[in-house]
Symmetry: C2
Amino acid sequence: MKRTYFAIAVLSMSVLLGALLTAAAPAQTPPVISPDVHADKSVTFRFRAPNNKEVAVIVEGAPKPLAMQKDDQGVWSVTTEPLAPDYYGYTIIADGVGLFDPSNHTVKPNFLVRASELHVPGPASLPWEIGTVPHGEIHHHFYKSVVVGDDRDYYVYTPPGYDARGKQTYPVLYLLHGFSDDASAWTAVGRANVILDNLIAQGKAKPMLVVMPLGYGAPEVLLPNSGVWRDPAITQRNFDKFREALLTEVIPRVEGEYLAAKDRNSRAVAGLSMGGSESLLTGLNTLDKFGWIGAFSSGGITEEFDKEFPALDPKSAEQLHLLWIACGTDDRLIDINRKFRGWLASKNIKHVDIETPGAHTWMVWRRNLTEFSALLFR
Amino acid sequence: MKRTYFAIAVLSMSVLLGALLTAAAPAQTPPVISPDVHADKSVTFRFRAPNNKEVAVIVEGAPKPLAMQKDDQGVWSVTTEPLAPDYYGYTIIADGVGLFDPSNHTVKPNFLVRASELHVPGPASLPWEIGTVPHGEIHHHFYKSVVVGDDRDYYVYTPPGYDARGKQTYPVLYLLHGFSDDASAWTAVGRANVILDNLIAQGKAKPMLVVMPLGYGAPEVLLPNSGVWRDPAITQRNFDKFREALLTEVIPRVEGEYLAAKDRNSRAVAGLSMGGSESLLTGLNTLDKFGWIGAFSSGGITEEFDKEFPALDPKSAEQLHLLWIACGTDDRLIDINRKFRGWLASKNIKHVDIETPGAHTWMVWRRNLTEFSALLFR
């Protein structure tokens, strides 16, 4: 039988695919395998670049870049110590330029950072490993934002067994990404859907909807050299317009379409980094709408907490079921988070202080989500 | 007011983000802007690589790679002729290695090819441009395939106004990607949801569900040097197991969850390249289930058409509402598609011959989908 079509097809699959398959693995050289996870969980990164002078790899959470060495084939490589099972972002730095690993098809969505994804597999007991459990679904929504003035999107996770034709309503967690992320970050990188699938199957989390909106009220914060975080006006607009879009556009859309419980006791807001601050600014200033608040490694607000949270006082705060403030002890934002928690304490506002190992990384935030989501709606 | 948090946050956002933002735009050099679309629709590609010897860019559909020139800052660049408004994939080839453009955050999902996305904007009349029209939703589903033996996914587009709580049922188009694509290709690259949103708003297409499954029955076809297309056994298994998974796993799940019409007159199957062949092999051999079939630039089946389509005869083929066979005239698969159409004609099987300008590219397939979907379910 002739099986020649696809040889032809691959060659003809546009100059792009044809040349790329060739470029990716020249006939005379073996394909570059990277990342290469070994039995002992050490990982070898490889990158073909015969003429580069200096190549290194930055692995998420590692204290410093790992220098790579070039072999006589022009392939640079380095092998790590054994790594804890997890998902890690990493970036090849070739003569000072950050690159995706061309040998790896899994990339992290991000507006500013180019990072590929490394999976060091672990036991099924790890909450981010896909388990033999029922899976929820991820719904991608598109709309024109009048508040911000752009076309944007948000994602909604529905738990296993969710039936839009049913009567049961579900509590809702609004889960916010960090600066430079896009709206897919919490599922594509944070694996929120896998974590919730597993926790729900184990009875550790209540079945809930998780809504993941785009977190920018002023999208120009993403422009190169916008200097946004030194410009109070842009920063303020970014937070204010995000909050307005969430409250007046996203929440009404979600509650109109999904079987969502619509009382403050059934509404939580949490996020990481910029999204942590957005969760605090939105939640603590809108206590009539949110009963549960989580802030993971948050930053971006000023130290003038009285001005940032004008609506917050011990009496109103009594309505809160949970105010959960977490940060990794190796994160430079730990000091600011401690200051904020000190301010809350000085005002006798009940909250939970969480300090964990780790830096400003997704390894910390996946664990934060695992712990926080298990506490919700009890 | 102190706005220092986020300066700190960006620095501390793991060694990864901190170093990357630095690496992406060293303080002493301006950030590299690429791709840079000019008013006349010409495009400048740029890539910082001071020590590379040869850098080129391959643009989807272009006859050959474009050589880039290095300036005294170590930045390589080239400017194209004005390009027709469209979405193009492109890849930087640095000393023979295909790379994503590190200055561009939009990448094309693909298991084998690293390509970034270029958008040359055009008028709202272009079907793939986001219009001021109601938008449908994209639903991402995950399940364990017993047929193939892996955890896999599929996507479902629901048209604007779809109400799971309603009574109306919708016809369903099963839309299949090509070799090397993943299940998100038809939306992320093919913009199927945008095209359907626009056609439906204009009354040019009937509101329909579009189901986009993972197209591999034998996932090992994706392994480097699997030589799959020269191995009849793997190729056969890839097609057979895909078909079995579609008919016994995906379709029952979709029809159980969505308001899908369940008769052959309301079921279409179409795809590109490998997916075009899968559409023919599945549709023409299962005429009791599909009334509408489309094959775009298809390849991968043998020339022994009588053996590939044992269930097909002129009598049974009379049940078909549409058999639509398209290919670009610059695609090397045009000859095979002409042969196949000739075989259909020799058996007096009614079909539509479509030959368009273009090669084996998404520019062709977006237009194929636009034309084909408008004909469905009439």
